[in-house]
Every structure is written in structure tokens, then in C-alpha cells.
Symmetry: C2
Subunit: 194 residues, 2 copies
DNA sequence: CGTCTATTTGAATGTACTCAAAAGCGGTGG
DNA sequence: CCACCGCTTTTGAGTACATTCAAATAGACG
């Protein structure tokens, strides 16, 4: 149950057995069905989720009812509404499951306790967020400098497993295009412009 | 010289006089002329910069020679190529000045020393990057869900000072549109679509 | 002033979107 | 095992937002 996350943590910081136990005790195992919404826009997003099985996504629902996927989280990733979690504000985005999923949830107050009790976790989360920041930045660059076709190709190369695993419509929402456009791109009916 | 950054740090963590001195000693003051490039794509981006006066920007130069601005950094902000800095890889982006600028630079090895010597800084940078992450995420959402006109309006509301201070072409590069399009938007000749 | 750069304007073009409908796929129940 | 239902993907036609390229105008700086 906890082996995946402890292994993940140990890649960055070394924990004593006591510290590992303390950490694990703060994690709440959750079993979720496919399509289950765990954070609704407007909710207090008190939890961040570490996925041990399945896949979740964070998305924004715009005024036209369209979904825009911010990130996918398969096994070994964290997900949540960072804005709401960090600022204790109502969430702006939604988080749901794309498959039956098992996750370990940490509550905001426990996260804060953890950082105080075991300051090594400051480093762990700093490194984690730094990496996520860099990944996001590259996405912004790609969105601005590449056409939809090239973005799709890059996606398939960067996340070949997700390409197989997820419905195409979800990938379209991530790429910032409509499912119709992605379909045409795949059929080679839209030029794959550099 | 150091008062701005120490004040900034003190909003998140409390430093002893010794710690503050140690920190300040690792910062290298830089005086930069307008349009000076401090990080070139391909460089080892060994420094992160804290701006005390003036304004810098990070941008990506694509294969067509077009500039895409990733972020602006006026006074009291950090900037650099986080990817290159964190991973010790050649930078993918460029950083230059938009005005005559004064900055405090920290070198990668000193950053690492600092985190080891004064672990409180792990917390400081975690919080900093968390906030930057959230800001970036909101930008991704806006880019996907709003038209160029509305993104421009939001920019003027969120950064009224930058709107005044920067050339319009720079704002266009940040919004992900051409200067021509921004000009038309401002003239009301492109619909400001929701 | 004169030069260089930034901004504006115009005309034609293109990428991706919208709306609508058809086809494909998967699961469920008869 | 096949038929039907619901959901995803594909296809088509027309449209819209923003781009490109070119030229004119305006602003800033020496």
C-alpha cells in the first residue's frame, strides 16, 4: 500500500523508520470509481492525492461548459488543486478519475504538521514542485510556439503510455484543441505545422 | 542593496543576523544595461536572479526566430532558467533585460550550500516555487479557455504597472499573440471574445 | 531634424472551431 | 450470440480568430 510512495520519497530524502511510519500514518487510503469527482470547483481543496493505481486528472470547466485538462496523474504522481490547497481558497478547478483509482490523500493540516515535524519534507516537496514547475513551463512554451499537430506528436512521444491508455477526447482537452480537431490531425487532414 | 531581498525573505522565514549575513554573502550584485542578455539558449544557466531595480524577462526563441515570453520579472521577483538551473542542463530559454536593471545573482553551487547550511531556506524556496507554480497554472488555464482579447484585459488588470512600463510588443509575446493582433485588439478591431 | 524602432493599418491566408450528422465501439440484456 | 443503446470518434461544410506579409505612421533618442 505504502511501498510506492515511500520508494518515491526515498529517491529524494532518507527517512528513518520512525519518520516513515509517521508519514504513512498521515496518508489516507482512498478507493475511487471511474469518473468520480474528488474536488469540485468551489470546494475547499483540503487534500492532495498520490496515485498508487489508476489515473486522475485536474481540469478547468469554462463558462461554455468546456473542459480544459491541466494535468493527468497516473501511478506515482501527485494531483490536487494546488491553488486551493496552498491558499486555503475555494478550488478553481476540478479533479476526477479517468479509471478506477487508488490513491493516498494527505490533508492540508497534516501536510503542515509533516513539514514541521520532519523538515526534510520541505526539501522533498520543494524538489517535487520545482520539477512540476519546469514541466509546466515547457508546456507553456510548446503551446505558444507549436501548432496542434506537433504538440500531439510531442505528447505521444513524451507520454506514450497515456496515449494508449486515455480516450482521445481527454488528450484533446489536454492539448488545448477540440476532439474533432485531434481526430483530423490523426487522420493527417490538418497539416502538422512546425 | 540587500534590504529588499531580506525583507522578501523575512515574509516567509525568520533569519538570525548571522544567517542573513551568510545569505547576503552568497549574492552577487549585478548591474545590467537595457537589452543585455544574461542567459543564452544553450548556456549553462548557473544563476538565478533577484531583481532589485528594473525589469527582466525569460523567453523562448523558436525555430522561426519568434520570441515567446515566459515571464516578466520586475522588482522583488526572481528569474532565471529553472530547467537549466535545477537539472544542470543547457538552458532552453533566454533571459535578458527590458530596462537598465540591478539584480542579485545566486550561483547554483551557492544555492545548494545555502540550502544545506540554512535548511530554513528549503521552506522559503518551496513556498516561492509553489506560488509560481500556481501562477503558471492559471496562465495555462487562461490560454486555453479565453480569447486573446480577454487575456489582454486580464493582463492589464493583473499587472497594470507592467502594462504601462513595457512595450506592447513584449506584452503580445507574453499573451501568445503577434504585436499586430494586439494592436487590433486594442483598437477594438478584433472582437474581445469571452 | 533624421534615423531607428515600435505601432498601426490593410488585404489575403490559415489553423482550428462550431454545429450537425454519420460511423465505430463496447457493454448489456434478451 | 446477436441486437440495441450510449458514448466516442470521424467526417463535412461553413465560419471565426488570429496570422503573415507589406506598407504607412508614429515615437523615441541622439
Amino acid at each position: 500500500m505504502y511501498s510506492l510512495i515511500l520508494q518515491n520519497v526515498s529517491r529524494h530524502i532518507k527517512l528513518s523508520a520512525d519518520e516513515a511510519d509517521y508519514f504513512a500514518a498521515l496518508l489516507q487510503p482512498k478507493k475511487l470509481r471511474k469518473k468520480q469527482v474528488v474536488i469540485h470547483a468551489g470546494d475547499d481543496a483540503r487534500y492532495e492525492y498520490f496515485i498508487t493505481k489508476g489515473c486522475m486528472r485536474q481540469y478547468y470547466l469554462d463558462n461554455n461548459g468546456q473542459e480544459h485538462t491541466i494535468m493527468f496523474a497516473p501511478e506515482d504522481w501527485w494531483i490536487g488543486d494546488m491553488y486551493g490547497f496552498v491558499y486555503s481558497q475555494p478550488s478553481l478547478t476540478m479533479v476526477d478519475t479517468l479509471e478506477d483509482t487508488e490513491a493516498l490523500a494527505i490533508e492540508r493540516c497534516d501536510y503542515e504538521k509533516l513539514l514541521t515535524a520532519v523538515p526534510k519534507f520541505e526539501r522533498f516537496f520543494r524538489v517535487l514542485i520545482q520539477r512540476a514547475f519546469v514541466t509546466q513551463q515547457r508546456r507553456i512554451i510548446e503551446n505558444m510556439s507549436l501548432g496542434a499537430g506537433q504538440r500531439y506528436i510531442n505528447f505521444t512521444q513524451q507520454y506514450p503510455e497515456l496515449e494508449q491508455r486515455l480516450p482521445l477526447r481527454q488528450i484533446a482537452y489536454y492539448l488545448g484543441i477540440t476532439p474533432e480537431s485531434l481526430s483530423r490531425i490523426r487522420a493527417g487532414k490538418l497539416k502538422k505545422v512546425e
